[in-house]
Amino acid sequence: MKSPWILHFDTGSCNGCDLEIWALLTPKYDVERFGMVNKANPKHADILLITGPVTKKCEERLRKLYEQTPEPKLVIACGDCASTGAPFMDCYNHNHGVNNVIPVDVFVPGCACRPEAIIDAVIIGINKWKEKAEAMETNVSHEDKIMPDDSPRSDQ
């Protein structure tokens, strides 16, 4: 897989990890070398880079974004928050990590996680891609799947 398109979603992080993700797009790290592009659109995305411990408010949105991403897809939990929720331990308002809401494929440790570690995680993810694609062959139908949009009309 040479073209991982990315969706970055912040589920209530302190923005530390988000800054590190944005650093990936700068000339210093330039992840477009690997074909990675930030698409900001779940329908185009292959890899979800999630930061933050998933607050209760965000839970539903994260689930929706996950559902809107077509198979095969990968979820990478970026940072300690997204992995375990540790930095916000004992808070009443979050889910203690992305894994408790949607299935995660790769965890990136660190508070904040280093950009190099995120690149590593994406490469590990890409290696898993083949498995995912094969699983899709058996699990997902080859027919068109109609998923109506429930967003309000722009003229209403």
Binding site: S3, I146, S151, S154
Partner: protein
């Protein structure tokens, strides 16, 4: 040239032109990256993207989305066939224009506000470049006394330099480059009319876009003619690369302008450039360069 070689050439060009545009998109991304002091993706990246999209799950918002995507591809493909068969430029223009409307309809068929707004902006873009593009073709027709591209024999770059400049403006809009990337405006509309497409259908739309751009580049190549086939081919290639490079430089040194400024600019300066060229050629001199 015999009829058979002509047909073979037409088929060959129709099949290879979109792929060549894909390669040009790769060059585009690489050069843009270099201009921004980055390494950039591999040259074949657009093809990797396309193949990946083809392998993804098939999802739609509604069934008509698929038909609009296929209609877009079909019309742009037909337009390219007519151009490759060295047919009538007006037919090429109208087929390609109808194709862009299918993209708009596809975007309108989804209820998402992003898609709706992208569709309306795409319509505005069509309003901005289509009259200029049409006039450029008319100016070629007046100069060559024919709209059939088989009959083209002059070096239009000498007689229609201002039309060529206007064509670069059209190219900037068609390639979705700054300052006129109004519809795809990735920072606010995500990707405009494409926002609700995914997987293989996004690939279809992308391929249709390559065909659409191939049509513009095809018309650009008509500006250079030479009785010697090798010299003609080289000249045409230099012209295409020069035009692409110019749009890239424009893309990298400008920020996005408002949609109103796009429409007023193309409809005033674009049309004025082509009109001045036509008037000069018809009434004031025997061609600018002669």
């Amino acid at each position: 040239m015999g009829d058979l070689t002509l047909y073979a050439l037409a088929v060959f060009l129709t099949l290879t032109a979109p792929l060549a545009v894909g390669l040009l998109m790769g060059v585009d991304r690489k050069l843009t990256a270099r201009m921004q002091n980055r390494v950039g993706p591999p040259l074949l990246q657009p093809f990797y993207d396309l193949f990946k999209l083809l392998g993804k799950e098939r999802r739609l918002i509604n069934p008509s989305q698929a038909y609009f995507a296929l209609g877009y591809l079909l019309l742009e493909g037909t337009s390219l066939v007519v151009l490759a068969a060295q047919g009538d430029l007006l037919v090429v223009f109208f087929l390609s224009g109808a194709g862009s409307l299918f993209l708009v309809l596809g975007a309108f068929s989804a209820r998402s506000p992003f898609s709706q707004m992208g569709a309306q902006r795409e319509l505005l873009q069509i309003l901005a470049y289509e009259p200029v593009f049409f006039l450029i073709i008319v100016s070629i027709g007046i100069q060559e006394h024919s709209f059939i591209s088989r009959d083209m024999s002059q070096n239009l770059i000498v007689t229609l330099p201002l039309s060529l400049i206007a064509l670069v403006a059209v190219l900037v809009i068609k390639l979705q480059k700054s300052p006129y990337d109004i519809a795809h405006a990735h920072t606010e509309l995500v990707s405009g009319p494409l926002v609700e497409y995914s997987g293989p259908y996004l690939a279809t739309v992308e391929l249709a876009r390559w065909a659409e751009i191939a049509v513009v580049f095809g018309i650009l190549t008509l500006f250079w003619n030479d009785p010697e086939p090798v010299a003609a081919l080289l000249g045409k290639m230099v012209l295409v690369f020069a035009a692409l490079f110019t749009t890239l430089v424009i893309d990298n040194v400008t920020a996005r302008l408002t949609r109103r400024r796009m429409v007023t600019f193309t409809l005033s300066f674009g049309i004025a450039l082509v009109a001045a060229n036509i008037i000069w050629n018809l009434y004031l001199g025997q061609g600018v360069g002669i």
